[in-house]
Symmetry: C2
Subunit: 132 residues, 2 copies
DNA sequence: CTTGATCCTGTAGTGACTACAGGATACATA
DNA sequence: TATGTATCCTGTAGTCACTACAGGATCAAG
């Protein structure tokens, strides 16, 4: 049943081979069973697990958060409310990042608006970068 | 004239002492002149320079970008248009980050909306995290 | 039987810091 | 003048989540 190579797992999940090995090293994925010659072998359960990790990463969860999440899932010891609340906390962190970046964006746009955009060696962007 | 300690420079600019030493090591700041006993000494020019770096960092520029920007400024070999265009490119990168984060945020919010938030060990968030 | 694809381990690099350890020096107070 | 504590020094290692080799073994197809 364990018949997928690391390459196939990578292809099925969109996670790079090097990253899969890294996840194993860091105990985010369990040690893979090996073929006689020492190659890693996977099955559909591994695909499912790696999809979970991949999706969490794409939603901005850290590997530490993913480890906690997965251990909740593995033990079955969680409630919908608990997961919901964890998700809300994470969503708030994302929202804060967005608002930080929007502030940067706004400052940059405002700075650029003052430019003559001319062929001259004076620039209000440079000037305002020197302000503390 | 060079009479500021690294601690004073840190206080004036809001940049940590360790970070100032790091910037010197990485040639983002020039090697500081030293007192007889080997302590770093700074002046208002250094304050100005570090403010520039600090402000650039707060606007999301990488240290590499800052090095290029500063060498433009140091040589005086730049035009307003050039700086304006560099800034626009950087602003676009910020905007892309924002839009990526907003997509994450949206998915998270939608996932959370489906929760019963009950005291039960079934959760639609977990279910959808397993989808590829 | 050979060729090229795939796999293995182990190590080092990335970016921008941050956090010590272990010691030297400066300055304010008793 | 002695002392205590604040500040400084160098050098190294850790953080996060990969990514990129080097150098070698093994597999599958023609």
């Amino acid at each position: 049943m364990k018949s997928l190579s690391i390459g196939s797992l990578a292809e099925k999940t969109g996670v790079h081979i090097e990253t899969i090995r890294y996840y194993e090293r860091e105990d985010i994925l369990p040690k893979a069973t090996r073929s006689e010659s020492g190659r890693r072998l996977y099955d559909e359960g591994d695909v499912r697990r790696l999809n979970f990790i991949h999706k969490c990463r794409s939603l901005g969860f850290s590997l530490k958060e993913i480890i906690s999440l997965m251990s909740l899932v593995d033990t079955g010891d969680y409630t919908c409310r608990q997961v919901h609340d964890l998700t809300l906390v994470h969503t708030k962190e994302i929202s804060e990042k967005i608002s930080d970046l929007r502030k940067m964006e706004q400052v940059l746009i405002e700075m650029a608006e003052h430019c003559s955009q001319g062929n001259v060696p004076e620039c209000p962007i440079i000037d305002s970068l020197f302000d503390s």
